[in-house]
């Protein structure tokens, strides 16, 4: 398989080559879908957001600055679309097992569903800002530098948010006696 790099594929896209865009979709559909899924905790919403993300990326490729990593730009669109989707939801109180949306259902393992579900619950209790950095760091495994670039934030802000997020998640697990 010819692993053409992102800038070359983007260039071909800008020249109207839709096959090149298909390659980018295949390359990034999984992380983009997972970013949306962890932000929204609803498969249908995540599917919609992932689809919109790629369509917006395609439409606005002329605005993409090749000085930045393509995936940072793409994830930024995905995060913004996820935040928009969250904003459109009806206000909710604190999520619990009764109010949580459809479970993503990934990777249940020997550790037990209860702990995984508790972590998924806790993620949804974080503010969108804290959840965003947590998802980008721990789900998409981006570096601080990449997250900072994607979100247009200083690295130290990304670190600070991630540290706060981890400590809140730990507090939540403690309350459920799952640490």
């Amino acid at each position: 398989m010819n692993e053409e790099d992102d800038p070359a594929l983007v260039l071909r896209c800008r020249e109207g080559d839709r096959d090149a865009f298909e390659r980018l979709v295949m390359r990034y559909q999984k992380p983009v879908f997972n970013v949306a899924l962890r932000m929204l905790r609803n498969r249908q919403d995540a599917l919609d957001v992932a689809q919109t993300t790629f369509l917006k990326a395609f439409e606005h490729l002329a605005d993409y600055d090749p000085a930045f990593r393509f995936y940072s730009w793409l994830y930024r669109i995905a995060i913004n679309e996820s935040l928009n989707a969250l904003a459109l939801r009806k206000p909710r109180g604190e999520l619990d097992a009764n109010t949580a949306d459809e479970r993503p259902g990934p990777d249940r393992n020997a550790e037990g569903d209860e702990t995984i579900q508790a972590i998924e619950d806790a993620l949804m209790l974080l503010s969108p800002e804290l959840r965003t950095v947590t998802v980008m760091r721990h789900i998409t495994q981006l570096s601080y530098e990449d997250i900072a670039e994607a979100l247009g934030l200083p690295e130290k802000t990304v670190k600070s948010r991630l540290h706060s997020a981890r400590e809140r998640l730990r507090d939540h697990l403690r309350r459920r006696d799952l640490t």
């Binding site: 800008r14 109207g16 839709r18 865009f21 298909e22 979709v25 559909q29 999984k30 992380p31 879908f33 997972n34 899924l37 962890r38 498969r43 599917l47 992932a50 689809q51 790629f54 369509l55 917006k56 395609f58 439409e59 606005h60 490729l61 002329a62 605005d63 600055d65 000085a67 930045f68 930024r76 669109i77 913004n80 679309e81 935040l83 928009n84 993503p104 990934p106 990777d107 550790e111 702990t115 995984i116 972590i119 998924e120 947590t134 721990h138 789900i139 495994q141 601080y144 979100l151 247009g152 934030l153 670190k159 540290h163 981890r166 400590e167 998640l169 730990r170 697990l173 403690r174 640490t179």
Partner: protein, 227 residues
């Protein structure tokens, strides 16, 4: 060492971001403080569990649904940008008339008369005089200088992750647009600002783009001498 400093060490360890000195500091801390050791273990466990959540496979129809809908999306928008049309300019002018967030600051020179401060471009179609790409970094896009019978105006079409303030300086005058932001996360924010009292006299028009009062990008437009 403060509690914040101790926590920072623990998080840095989770991120594999410790210097050798910090590693030694953390090791001493863990030996001396069982509570911190327990906290570190909890955060390590949490971090491992978060990593273990992993990624699920997207639904099989995702790719196909995207590709199917590409047909209704304009092919790479480069051509669209090149054909920056009068209708869009008219929309920008309308946006100017509605916008309440533009603040004009006269640093030097005569204060503009009240009839100069807004809406001076609506009477005829402005002509582009110069256009420049707004560079790389957190702010990207294009700035265009326009002229109509009433004077000059700067049109901005920019994309940025955060609201941007734009300072426009020329001929000893300074104008400012506050909080320029796009409602479309993948799109560009657009605004046109008239420059009352500024005439074409072969000068440069300096644009500074600020996020949180920090200059993140600059651009220069050239206003040729009036014929």
């Amino acid at each position: 060492m403060t509690n914040d400093e101790r926590m920072a060490l623990i998080h840095a360890e989770l991120d594999g971001d410790l210097s050798s000195q910090q590693r030694a500091d953390l090791a001493r801390l863990m030996l001396a403080d069982p509570q911190m050791r327990a906290l570190r273990d909890e955060l390590r466990g949490l971090s491992s569990r978060l990593d273990a959540l992993g990624q699920v496979e997207p639904p099989a129809q995702l790719k196909d649904s995207i590709l199917k809908r590409l047909g209704s999306v304009p092919v790479a928008a480069a051509n669209r940008r090149a054909s920056f049309g009068r209708w869009r300019l008219a929309a920008m002018v309308a946006g100017l008339l509605l916008a309440g967030t533009i603040v004009f600051e006269t640093v030097q020179g005569p204060a503009p008369g009240s009839r100069e401060t807004a809406g001076t471009m609506a009477e005829d179609v402005p002509a582009p005089v110069d256009s420049v790409a707004v560079g790389s970094g957190p702010v990207t896009g294009r700035a265009t200088l326009y002229r109509d019978k009433n004077g000059l105006a700067v049109g901005l079409e920019i994309a940025a992750a955060e609201p941007v303030d734009v300072v426009i300086e020329t001929a000893g005058r300074s104008f400012r647009i506050n909080g320029l932001a796009s409602s479309d996360p993948a799109g560009s924010a657009r605004r046109t600002a008239a420059l009352p009292g500024v005439r074409m006299q072969g000068q440069e028009i300096e644009l500074s783009f600020l996020i949180g009062e920090r200059t993140v990008s600059r651009a220069t437009l050239h206003a040729p001498s009036a014929p």
